[in-house]
């Protein structure tokens, strides 16, 4: 098992024929992901990367049976694409695009929720179930199959964390990059619950950062609901207040959303919190040895 996606998951790509969409769809196909088609308006009826191209998500879904969409459209069109996917009955939209306006995502997420469509991202590396299905832009080869679930707001910290887990002799069940924007889809809470249920996952690594309170909510949830060991790292302990650190959502505003308060809440919930991302692998080995 794994969470959300596996070797049988059928995926379409919105923004299939664009530069980014093409490049990454090709990488995903090479990884073994069942990409069964894509959507680019006015290119319907053609073929791209050996897969059919459709004008609308509805057409793509009805002729391929896809349940997941990977979205690469430019920022200004992200909300439209997400809502189209929800309207067409897609179950999970993975939004890779960075720079979508916050107001657009607010509306798009509200609409997706109404249609029971889960979303991951935006501004994220995507999701990967090791050695089965990669939906995103992460380097597939570092995710060796194993029993550690990984949830992260940051792309490169996802790779760093996975790499260390593998170097310690373990592997990854599923890794999810949830994105660094102020409004994102699936968050720690929902994913922690899925990993708790997943028989393949033995421990969970969660990587957070400054800004917002998702990690605090996660801490409260872990305390009540999660029995599996959790290792956490929060980036930005040395970040100055009021400055945006790369990600749109990574900002300590009005003294709230600091790394210190998140680390304290997680520790209080029984999570093994590391001070440097360099210690993630060792911490995983430690909690599993217990």
């Amino acid at each position: 098992m794994s969470i959300l996606v596996n070797k049988d998951t059928k995926v379409i790509v919105q923004g299939f024929t664009g530069k980014e969409g093409s490049f990454h769809a090709e990488q995903c196909l090479a990884y073994g992901t069942k990409i069964v088609g894509g959507v680019t308006p006015n290119k319907g009826g053609t073929e791209h990367l050996g897969q059919p191209v459709f004008n609308t998500v509805k057409e793509a879904v009805s002729s391929t049976g896809a349940t997941v969409s990977m979205i690469f459209v430019p920022p200004a069109f992200v909300a439209d694409a997400v809502m189209e996917a929800a309207d067409a009955g897609i179950e999970l939209a993975v939004i890779i695009t960075e720079g979508a306006p916050v107001r657009d995502m607010q509306a798009a997420k509200a609409y997706a929720t109404k249609h029971n469509m889960k979303t991951i991202g935006p501004n994220c590396p995507g999701i990967i179930t090791a050695e089965e299905c990669k939906i995103g832009i992460m380097p597939g080869m570092i995710f060796k199959k194993g029993n550690i679930g990984l949830i992260s707001k940051s792309g490169t910290l996802t790779y760093e964390g996975a790499n260390q887990v593998v170097k310690e002799g373990f592997g990854i069940s599923t890794a999810v990059g949830i994105g660094g924007d102020p409004i994102i889809g699936l968050s720690y809470k929902q994913l922690l619950a899925m990993f708790e249920e997943d028989s393949e996952t033995q421990a969970i690594v969660m990587i957070g950062e400054i800004g917002g309170d998702l990690e605090i909510q996660a801490a409260a949830f872990i305390k009540e609901n999660i029995k599996k060991p959790v290792v956490a790292f929060i980036a930005g302990q040395t970040a100055p207040k009021g400055k945006r650190m790369g990600h749109a959502g990574a900002i300590v505003s009005g003294g709230a959303g600091t790394a210190a308060e998140k680390m304290a809440a997680l520790e209080e919930a029984g999570v093994k919190v590391v001070v440097s991302p360099a210690d993630i692998g060792k911490a995983v080995a430690e909690v599993l040895a217990k």
Binding site: V102, G155, P182, Q217, T238, A239, G255
Partner: protein, 391 residues
């Protein structure tokens, strides 16, 4: 993107949010002319910088004559204003706003921000105007009324009632005025993709009118493309020159006060690198995310910007190569050291795709001040040691 008070007030005017009359000035003479045009008898001379706390820092002063407007303008224009939001280095005052004095009975607070937990805008109001809202939130959180407004339904009557009853506004005419103002502010927030609007203080006059005495606005950078009128209000002299230069090259840079320059791909890993340096007893000189491409040009630009900071004693290049292969990044780093004179030790950690090949390339190049590291911990330790040695 943030704008000045005088610009925020221009936007307020469009939405029917009342403000005192005022005119922006870039010289003392202009300030005096503006004051004469406004007529008096009381004027306020206000420094225009992108930071709060201007009054406490001495950047907002009351004038009772034209002569006083002149004296105060001479004093404030060109001063370096230090407030709790500018940092100790302060900000140079390059513009003034000359405004009519107002008859203040009560000072309130009114603002709109995104509530990230509820995923919708929230209107915040308080009877404790004129103070830093962070302090009110900390000391007396019950004095802040929060009303989240779902854009799917928009600002409704009940939102308004929650606000006025929460604030204890009992006069029906005043209630109507306040609700109209709050609704206008919400509309402004949504229509312009604002990130934050703050009126502090929002005053109530002796006649029971509500007037925005101050105005602060920030906008979602990702949405500026559809608001050319807002984008035209950008004042680049208010932004950090290095941060701006970096952003022109697709780099995300924030300067800090330590000694170890950092060049990293990805915002999370960049913060994690700073944290690791700190954990190992060093101090990071900056946050720098070179993004996904990390080629010779972006790396060279990164070196250039980092080395502008005279405190930098060593540079830690920490790249986790994913889609971009490490061997290509290694070549990029070598090329960059030819483009820029890098006079401090550079510790390079390349991990991910083709990492062994990258290590080989760096080894073969055999450049005196380029030191290879095997992983994040090793790299941070070597950078901290190099910085200490340079002292």
């Amino acid at each position: 993107m943030n704008i000045h008070e005088y610009q925020a007030k221009q936007i307020f005017a469009k939405y029917g949010v009342p403000t005192p009359k005022g005119i922006m000035a870039e010289s003392v003479e202009q300030a005096v002319t503006n004051a004469k045009e406004l007529g008096g008898p009381i004027w306020v001379v206000k420094a225009q910088i992108h930071a709060g706390g201007r009054g406490l820092g001495g950047g907002v002063k009351l004038a009772k004559s034209i002569d006083e407007v002149r004296t105060l303008s001479e004093e404030i224009l060109g001063m370096t204003l230090v407030t709790h939001q500018t940092g100790p280095e302060g900000k140079l005052v390059q513009k003034l706003y000359i405004e009519d004095g107002a008859d203040i009975k009560d000072e309130l607070y009114l603002g709109v921000v995104l509530d990230r937990a509820r995923e919708m805008p929230v209107i915040m109001a308080s009877t404790e105007g004129g103070m830093a809202i962070e302090d009110v939130a900390h000391d007396t959180p019950e004095k802040i009324i929060k009303v989240a407004v779902d854009p799917a339904i928009g600002f409704q009557g009940f939102h308004g009632r929650e606000l006025v009853f929460g604030l204890g506004i009992t006069d029906k005419v005043e209630q109507g005025k306040f609700i109209k103002l709050a609704a206008a502010l919400y509309k402004l927030y949504l229509e312009n993709d604002a990130e934050m609007i703050e009126i502090n203080p929002l005053i109530k006059t002796g006649e029971g009118d509500f007037i925005a005495l101050d105005g602060k606005m920030g906008f979602d950078d990702s949405a500026l493309g559809r608001h050319p009128d807002i984008e035209a209000m950008r004042d680049i002299s208010e932004e950090d020159a290095d941060e701006r230069e970096a952003s022109e090259y697709g780099l995300s840079y924030v300067s800090l006060d330590g000694e170890i320059g950092c060049m990293v791909n990805g915002a999370g890993l960049a913060m994690g690198t700073m944290d690791t340096i700190n954990y190992m007893g060093g101090t990071p000189a900056n946050f720098l995310d070179v993004g996904g491409s990390a080629n010779a040009q972006t790396v060279a630009k990164g070196f250039e910007i980092i080395l502008k900071n005279p405190n930098v004693k060593a540079i830690f290049v920490n790249i986790f190569g994913g889609i971009v292969r490490c061997d290509r990044i290694a070549n990029g780093i070598l090329e960059a050291t030819k483009l820029v004179d890098v006079h401090v030790p550079v510790i390079v950690r390349l991990d991910g795709t083709n990492a062994p090949e990258a290590a080989e390339i760096l080894k073969k190049a055999n450049i005196a001040n380029v030191i290879a590291a095997t992983d994040l911990a090793d790299g941070a330790a070597k950078a901290v040691a190099a910085a200490k040695q340079a002292k």
